[in-house]
């Protein structure tokens, strides 16, 4: 009994996103007959990756008990850098955009890990700075069309086994994130730092290096999101991504990532992002005010917090007895 409940308390958070996703799919399915079709699933699968990549990156920052509000701006900067690089050196230079994201994230990590600046201040600075840089290199925010937009369009819209090639690439990157989190030493260290910072220090982990890596990953994934934007839009969009940072945090939190660090699963975050995407798509297709999506996301965020509170309240007497026994 107690075991099952405590399992619920640790894994209950990961149920929020799947339950919400299912409810959303059923609700929209009832309203729009086309909604729960395979083709539409493919459609959602093609669209959700920008948000997913941002949210997965965000998860790494949240795992260390921090967060990053610069991801939207960094994605826009990366998108622009990618387009400029591709136009200058050809399409293979596109990944330079992700490198720009990595650099931004690394700077965040250094400010937070080495200089000890609070994450909100450091990433707020990056948020403003990356936007400025994006405007600077595009002559005040001009869109940078890709000269080889045909290949980009093929990557973005041709179907490869049901979903576009670019979605497969995003999926691969997300799987890589799961590998980093679950299988790599770095992933373990990030979780260890977030789970118990004192102990991490005691077993010989250098906190600043892990901060650097975690925020670097966060920036790198924002960079990947920027690449995705560039390929889908066939151009670099320096002013893209407004409000995406909050959506990314929302997706990560709904996906079960704990603000208190140490808890997070890539699969959960992906489902959380999928939920938000389904919400937007469904509200779009059903003609209900798109503004209600924000309300729904907000309610789910607070609801997931309350659920955790309820589980904690309900389980704590049992836990206490166990501890004493």
């Amino acid at each position: 009994m107690t075991g099952a409940l405590s399992r619920l308390s640790t894994s209950g958070r990961f149920l929020v996103a799947p339950v919400c996703l299912t409810v959303a799919i059923l609700a929209f399915g009832a309203a729009v007959p086309e909604f729960p079709t395979i083709a539409n699933a493919g459609n959602v699968l093609a669209q959700m990756w920008v948000l997913t990549l941002l949210a997965v990156g965000q998860m790494f920052a949240l795992l260390t008990r921090g967060f990053d509000i610069s991801v939207g701006a960094v994605a826009a900067l990366s998108s622009t850098v990618a387009a400029l690089a591709a136009n200058h050196w050809g399409l293979p230079a596109l990944p330079l955009g992700a490198l720009a994201g990595l650099v931004c994230g690394g700077l965040n990590g250094l400010m937070i890990g080495s200089l000890g600046i609070q994450p909100i201040v450091a990433t707020l600075g990056m948020f403003v700075g990356a936007r400025g840089l994006a405007l600077l290199i595009t002559d005040g925010g001009q869109v940078v069309p890709l000269s080889q937009s045909g290949i980009a369009a093929a990557l973005a819209y041709n179907s490869l086994a049901g979903i576009p090639p670019i979605a497969w690439m995003a999926l691969a990157v997300v799987v890589a994130a799961a590998w980093v989190l679950n299988r790599s030493v770095l992933g373990r260290r990030i979780v260890m730092l977030g789970s118990n910072p004192d102990a991490a220090w005691l077993v010989g982990i250098h906190p600043w290096r892990v901060h650097l890596a975690a925020y670097g990953l966060c920036g790198l994934f924002a960079g990947f999101a920027g690449l995705l934007i560039t390929i889908r839009a066939g151009s670099g969009l320096p002013t893209e991504g407004t409000g995406m940072e909050l959506q990314a945090i929302a997706a990560a939190v709904i996906g079960g990532t704990a603000l208190t660090g140490g808890v997070g699963r890539v699969s959960g975050v992906v489902v959380g992002a999928a939920f938000i995407q389904v919400l937007f798509t469904g509200l779009n297709l059903s003609g209900i005010s798109p503004f209600l999506a924000g309300v729904a996301v907000g309610v789910v965020i607070i609801g997931s917090g309350l659920l955790e509170y309820a589980l904690r309240r309900f389980l704590s007497p049992l836990e206490q007895n166990r501890r004493m026994a």
Binding site: A31, V32, V143, P145, G234, T239
Partner: protein, 320 residues
């Protein structure tokens, strides 16, 4: 509150219609993708689209990217419309280049696409309904030059950077001004302000920095409202002429009060209507006019009463 309920009910009602109509071949469903329902410009276009569709008996699914900077949102929404297998799509682009690929995708999927006002940057569109944003800037330049007597100093509240419409309007203004009034100098340009509050703040700063200011170009009427508020409170409204684009109820009032020299407009409701007509024609395989131009107009206090507002601006009680 009531409104929200209504919109919810409307939505659900629409769903019912959508659900039954998609099976029937006679009724058509048109998708309408626009950048920003928080801009009066697009509200008026939407009004034209919805009203014309109602009269023609077709359904409209409208999707709103929620901001000029949300190109990837719009891309996703157009994909949704493709997925929804609408019979035609009307697109007002956040950015013509950014949505080019997805629009070509729609066309490849056999869905005709009509560009409206801010058309996607592709030659495969079945029709383009627009007036040139460039012309709107041009008309402003001519009007402002006259109001200023051909000399003085102008500041440009040029609207957000990186948007097709604001860039075109600004270019039209700049080019024309250089031609018709070479004695007028452009002394400042702001691309940061994109709403009334920011325009107000920037204008206040300009008034302090440039006492010699005698004219302001404003990319939209909403920003012009902010600029005029700033001028009024600095008591400089007589010395500084303001021109704008678009004609919301606010702008009409400003014109009547003589606070706004002129505003250049597109007949945007008419554009919305024309876009629907072309879309229906395309969907039914009928004859489509490749290019529909509703010329830009200049509205001043004098001709305000004679302008056919029904083709320009949505009724003030209309809510999308």
């Amino acid at each position: 509150m009531n409104k929200r309920t209504k919109s919810l009910l409307g939505g659900i009602g629409l769903l019912a219609v959508v659900a039954t109509s998609s099976a029937s071949a006679a009724d058509k469903t048109i998708g309408f993708s626009m950048p920003d329902l928080a801009a009066s410009f697009w509200v008026s276009v939407t009004y034209g689209v919805e009203d014309q569709a109602k009269q023609a008996g077709v359904d409209v699914i409208k999707v709103n990217a929620g901001g000029d900077a949300n190109a990837s949102q719009q891309i996703a929404q157009i994909q949704d419309l493709i997925q929804k297998k609408v019979d035609a799509i009307i697109v007002g682009a956040t950015n013509g280049d950014a949505v080019k690929a997805v629009v070509e995708q729609a066309i490849a999927a056999g869905i005709p696409v009509v560009g409206v006002s801010s058309p996607p940057n592709t030659d495969k569109l079945v029709a383009i309904v627009s007036a040139d944003h460039y012309d709107m800037g041009k008309l402003q330049a001519e009007c402002l030059a006259k109001a200023m007597g051909g000399k003085g100093n102008v500041a440009m509240m040029a609207g957000p950077s990186g948007q097709t419409w604001s860039d075109l309007r600004a270019n039209g203004f700049r080019d024309t001004l250089a031609k018709v009034a070479p004695d007028i100098t452009i002394i400042a340009e702001s691309r940061l302000a994109d709403n009334r509050n920011a325009a107000l703040t920037t204008a206040e700063d300009w008034i302090q920095r440039f006492p010699e200011l005698s004219g302001v170009y404003s990319a939209t009427d909403d920003m012009a409202a902010g600029i005029i508020t700033a001028l009024k409170s600095a008591d400089k409204l007589d010395a500084v002429k303001v021109s704008a684009s678009n004609l919301s109820p606010t702008a009409q009032q400003l014109l009547k009060d003589g606070e706004l020299a002129c505003t250049s407009i597109q007949q945007i409701v008419a554009q919305g209507r024309a876009a629907v007509d072309q879309a229906i024609a395309a969907a039914e395989g009928g004859e489509v006019k490749k290019e529909v131009v509703t010329p830009a107009l200049l509205v001043t206090a004098e001709n305000l009463d004679t302008v056919d507002l029904s083709s320009v601006v949505a009724p003030s009680d209309y809510r999308p």
